[in-house]
Amino acid sequence: MKKKKKINSLAGETPAFFESRDAFLKGLLEAASRLSAAERVSFYYYDEKNALLRLMMRRADGLSFEAEESARPSPDSPASETLASLKPAVFSNKAGHFLLAPFRVGIYAAAASGEAPIQGLIRLERSPKKKRFSPAEAAFAHEYIGEFMRSYYKAEFVGLNKKYSRNLSVITELTEIFANSLRVRDSFKHILAGIQTYFGFDRVRLYLIDEKAQKLKGELSSDIRGQLKSIAYEEIPLEAGAHRFADIVLGRSSGVFMERYKDCVLYMPLVVQGTTIGLLIVDNLLSQQKIEPGELAMLKSFAGQIGLALDNVRLFDKVEELSLYDELTKLPLRRYFNQRFQEEFYRAERFKQPLAVIWGDVDYFKEVNDTYGHQIGDKVLREVGRVILSNLRKIDFPCRYGGDEIIILLPQATGEEAQKLAARLALEVREIKIPVPFSKTRELTVSMSLGISTFPADASSMEALLAKADDALYWVKSHGRGQIALAGDVEKTQGMRDEG
């Protein structure tokens, strides 16, 4: 009765104070060593599948430590007997005196998923010079350890509850992130960051299908520290057997590698309304940490939401593209130009770099429309757009300003450089031949008038820069069209005429 009380009072202090499994084991070994005057105490769990007793922690010389040790007890050994009977055993040999106390605990979640209960033994040792373990000591230790393990069960249960409530909050927060992705341009980043914040994989990678090119294209990757990197350089042909990612997206067999990978890699095809739009891959390959089944299930349940969010983002981009670009010429529209012009002008001012503007229009465009009809007029504009887009540098920015008027921003370009480009454009536009079957000439050729102004040479403000380019264009149009004029030259000519 006295012993029972002692056991209860000691065990009663256990569960709440151990914040981790590690702390629990330490506490157990410390207490067992203190109560039994054992010099070494070792905690082994039984790996039933491989019939191995695997050491989890040992206490010796007043210190608890982990150690690697796996032992297979021989069938007639005290360890085998104690595991089978679940009764304690004592024995002695030249190495010292030993007490083996077995335990077997059924964890709620493990039982629910059909897993075997946690089983193992605790080995207590005394050196040969010390006293043997008595049967009474063995019974006491067994009971005490049993009580401790039951407390462990309670602590594990509390831990599981905490885990489930955390999972719930993860679901809520991630759902919000995915929903918000509808409105933000850099949604890919948000989605990957959201996954990393809650799951923390070694890497998360996102690939999207480019239907036109029949390719799986890399978009973004995030590492364990949440650092994002573009993987746009990765392009995988969507052909069976070309790459295992392609096979997964095409729904083909993934082979033996996938079997091996399944513990630390998860491939999630992103499917929207029955169509695969991409592939999300999470992996723990570097760390070789197993992805927990709970995490797998949660991510799989998110796959649909992620796919939907990504598809919405792509649709959003398409709508935005439609509102910013002219469908006919493929050139940006005035609204987009105004925004870029402000940015480029600010940059030119701040870094004291030149900025040139070319303002042009198609000569006699109204007459083309009136004579040949709007269909031919549209063809002219489409061809002019093509010529412009194929002659610009990456940093240049063209725009269909309205009707047949085109403006081109040339960052870091002087008047002379702008003039060279304008000359090339004028030449190539003249080479455009639009077939007009019902006309005598059978084809139509066009020309463009172009006016150029530059910052800071011609103007010091955005409005003045545009006005000067417009003035130069007006000068060309009033002097025979089909030519190029620099604002500075026009001013000089006008000045000389005024003086004359």
């Binding site: 082994y44 191995l52 608890s64 430590f65 032992a71 923390g200 070694d202 364990i224 390959l285 570097l286």
Partner: protein, 392 residues
Amino acid sequence: MLIWLLADSDTGKFAAFKNLLNSFSAHYPEIKVDFRVMTRRSMWRNIFAHLRDSRNRETADIMELPQSWTAVLAKLGLLAEIDRVFEAFTPVRYPDFLKKGCSTEESDIAFSAPWWMEAPVLFYHPEEFKKHSLRPEADLSDWGGFLSVCERLASGNKKRGFYPVLCGAGRLSAAYALPCVWNRGGDLFSEDRNRCTLSRDEAVKGLEDYLEPALRGYLPLFGETVLEGGPFYEDSAAMVIGTRLPAFPAGRKSSFRPVRLPGARKKEQILSYGLAAASGSPRLKEAGLFLKWALSADSCRSFAPAFGAFPCLTQVFEEILENSRGEEVWREVFSSPAPAPNSAVYPTAELLLDKALWHASLRISRQAYTREDFLRELIIAQGEIDYLLSLY
């Protein structure tokens, strides 16, 4: 301040560390130091758990690491530059072969400081050898000879529980397998380190050599006597593959002697360990003081030799070598050193090879081992390592 220490098969290491800590605390009583001993696997897991969730998962202020982990942990931003923590750190005081283990592959900035090292050799029992007229140097010069020695020892000793050879590490491991791979002219990586060569013929044959003693029943894989206070080296084995002199019961001197591992012996596996400070530690100043203390000549002189290992500091290493049993053998071993590669992928590659060896051990112990299974496992491991090499 928290220190993470790697687990060891010898509890002597922890006693030596406690002594080191006691002397440090006597000089710096205001610094409270705690330490935790973890297996390599557990420390690796804890490091990544911290990376995933640094708010809720603690990390140490100082870590003891295999030097081959330095590059990957530094690249993951976990380690502080040693110079910033411990100004007096001078790489010239260490042997050249240890220097690569201090930094990443791309730079010379040191992130860990060498602390102690060991090398796998074969320890033999002179009396057993004499009894069977065996000559350690001549009969153990190559792997075939070693297997013949095992056979003679096994047939000459029918005592229950006796094995010709034991594995000091307690299990088959990548670190011990690599010398066998080298013997056959193979390696884990190609020379340019861009490809894994684990499934090449030479590497496979080397690994099969390593498994052979277990397959023939000369080497136990999951020691039964461990649960009864063993292994009892004295009467249960004639040889031990390990890095430390096999321990004998208290008060008795070990009679084992070292000899180099059988094989070509062109290069010898060196397992070196370093100390590193965590970049996110709020106690870097205290960490610096501890590093200075632990890496001083006096501390090195007493720490590693206390558990049969060697200090890294060149001057102290020479002193210890001179007084060690089997000095000549150790000198030969350390004259052709091959430390584990310190690359971003090596620790994972080592884990994967360890996994393949573990599965092989389980199959051998169940008498279900087949060459095809082992080969398949190596091919898959190679695929995984190659993939990682393309990424990191």
